[in-house]
């Protein structure tokens, strides 16, 4: 039955290609705030990022000098190398202040390399 194979083929295409494609399309249409976070000895620029609750934050992480880290406890921990930007997507689900810090030892001032994300109501 040729028509049965055609129906099955359409179903396969719709499910195996259509579903992931639909997911990516949905993501691209969501309200997303894109912030470029520069990382250098021994600071983040900007050191404070403000977002609204429910907003999606797409952080583009760029290490300007040496290897740095971006760690928000329980949410993200990314190693970033110079010349190799990384991206982190954070969902601002609950209001509050979330501290981030460098998780790769980057020199004498490493401990001072901190910042915060403020999620406002």
């Amino acid at each position: 039955m040729r028509w049965q194979e055609i129906v099955a083929g359409i179903l396969v295409a719709a499910c195996l290609i259509g579903l992931p494609a639909a997911a990516l399309a949905y993501q691209n249409h969501r309200e997303t705030r894109v912030v470029t976070l520069e990382m250098m000895q021994w600071e983040y620029r900007p050191a404070e990022i403000r977002v609204k609750k429910g907003e999606q934050l797409r952080l583009q992480l760029i290490a300007k000098d040496v290897v740095h880290g971006f760690q928000v406890d329980g949410i993200a921990n990314v190693e970033v190398r110079p010349g190799k930007p990384e991206e982190v997507i954070i969902w601002a689900q609950d209001a509050g202040v979330y501290r981030f810090r460098c998780s790769m030892f980057c020199g004498l001032g490493h401990a001072a390399m901190v910042g915060q994300i403020v999620v406002e109501e």
Partner: protein, 491 residues
């Protein structure tokens, strides 16, 4: 119609079932008749119609393949945080627990009927999704080398994967690459070799599914043996114009164990006599089948038992150093872990078990070859091994179930909330009863293993007294294993 149907016990039937040496009326643990069967396809005729439909298999595969496709994308581009990523949660929490707690014990290799990994390869090989296409498929159709038609390749592949379990189960991209590699591997093998060669001889999951499905409470078998015997054209073996020969290269007319039956139901579609059945049965029935036992399957039992103990120590134990080694935090530590794991499952467990079997053989004065007794009695490790994995799986699903609704709503960890369950709090359940469940599972496994060991010893030695004496040392081993798992999981 009676709910409990007496199996047809003519001589041919018994020979096919291969349970020679098991006394009539034998019972598991003294109260479950070994030959009890409940024919689901006879009781529910609608079920036979569903199983005969070619669309059933296609739709089941399509559903799992769809979820798998999304999960695979999540593995590659979703959040690297494992417990917020659909792929890791789906595979290592949901699938694993469902497999060990429900699918294998109750439904045998039903997962193989749902598994999305070989779907693409099979569709390409057949050049069809649903209906059988006439003519040659897209494959060279070669036969798998005779020397490798056993579980050894699967044992080695599984061991290779087990060595990397520390990073496999936590790193999303590693899991994604592994599964994508398996899909591609299945495609390549399908294009070169006949039917489901990949599933039968190479799938690392298929090995332990096959062995542990001997414990399952469900089987697919012929209904009346004389119908198959008198039917000269073995459609289930050679196929028909409408349906394929057994994709698993089994002969359903004489199949006596679940080990290599992938529950694809193709034999229902080929059989013009409607002589195939899905039946409920007591657990562990196939372990008593005195046919096609081999060292390859014995080693699978050792590998699974040893791996369960090591994983329990690494994942559930308090030893941080072990976790670091398994997670590859240092090359030296990882090498110690990997070599210990390989040595334990391939050498230490078999050697210790062999010593206990040798003692039993001496004690009983049995004159059967040691290797035969060793191989046969190794099947008694299946119940305790499987129940140890069940106890282990309780410790995976009960504390971590909350991640499942979370990733259903937010599969990529991108902050979605598709079904309003993304905010489900991490909330372990049943933590107080979990140790009780685990100990109960282990004790049931111990009792079942002892019972199977005695029955196999009697079957092999043909004498009650000799069987009892030969079983004493293996029972001590089994009790020790149960104690070890109790200490690792609960103690």
């Amino acid at each position: 119609m009676s709910a409990v149907q007496k199996p047809r016990q003519d001589r041919a039937e018994r020979a096919v079932r291969g349970m020679t040496g098991i006394p009539e009326g034998s019972k598991f643990l003294g109260f479950i008749p070994v030959d009890w069967r409940y024919d689901l396809t006879e009781r529910f005729p609608g079920l036979r119609r569903v199983l005969r439909s070619r669309w059933t298999s296609f739709l089941l595969q399509l559903i799992t393949a769809s979820v798998f496709a999304v999960a695979l994308v999540a593995g590659f581009i979703g959040t690297p945080v494992g417990n917020a990523n659909l792929l890791v949660v789906l595979v290592w929490i949901f699938w694993w627990s469902a497999l060990m707690l429900i699918m294998v014990p109750f439904f045998s290799r039903i997962w193989c009927a749902l598994c999305p990994l070989p779907s693409a390869g099979e569709w390409l090989q057949r050049r069809a999704f649903v209906k059988k296409r006439q003519g040659k498929g897209l494959t060279l159709g070669k036969r798998w080398p005779a020397a490798l038609r056993n579980m050894w390749p699967v044992n080695l592949i599984f061991l290779g994967m087990a060595l990397f379990s520390g990073i496999l189960t936590t790193r999303t991209t590693v899991t994604a690459w592994l599964l994508l590699g398996m899909v591609l591997g299945a495609i390549v093998i399908s294009l070169i070799f006949e039917r489901r060669t990949f599933c039968r001889y190479l799938c690392p999951v298929g090995g332990f599914l096959g062995l542990y499905s001997n414990m399952a409470t469900m089987e697919i078998r012929h209904n009346v043996y004389s119908v198959c015997r008198d039917h000269k054209h073995k459609e289930c073996v050679v196929g028909t114009n409408e349906a394929y020969a057994c994709p698993w290269m089994e002969a359903p007319t004489t199949m006596a164990r679940n080990t290599y039956c992938g529950f694809c139901f193709e034999c229902f579609r080929t059989c013009s006599k409607d002589n195939m059945s899905v039946r409920l049965r007591p657990p562990g029935t196939d372990l008593l089948v005195n046919k096609n036992r081999g060292l390859d399957e014995a080693w699978k039992a050792f590998i699974m038992l040893g791996a369960a103990a090591i994983y329990a120590a690494v994942m559930m134990g308090p030893w941080g150093t072990l976790k670091d080694w398994a997670n590859m935090t240092s090359v030296g530590g990882y090498l110690v872990y990997a070599s210990s794991l390989a040595l334990t499952v391939m050498v230490v467990v078999p050697a210790v078990w062999g010593a206990f079997v040798w003692l039993g053989r001496k004690l009983s004065g049995a004159d059967v070859p040691f290797v035969r007794l060793f191989t046969n009695l190794s099947y008694s490790l299946v119940p305790i091994g499987m129940l140890a994995w069940i106890a282990f799986s309780f410790a995976i699903i009960l504390p971590n179930w909350a991640y499942i609704p979370r990733v259903i709503s937010d599969p990529f960890g991108w902050g979605w909330d598709l079904f309003g369950t993304a905010g489900v709090e991490w909330n372990p359940v049943g933590m107080r009863v979990m140790p009780i469940l685990q100990v109960a599972a282990l004790l049931f496994g111990l009792a079942f293993s002892i019972d199977v060991a005695w029955k196999i010893a009697r079957q092999t030695l043909g004498d009650d007294r000799k069987a009892s004496l030969a079983t004493i040392p293996p029972v001590i081993f089994l009790a020790g294993v149960t104690g070890l798992f109790t200490w690792l999981l609960v103690g």
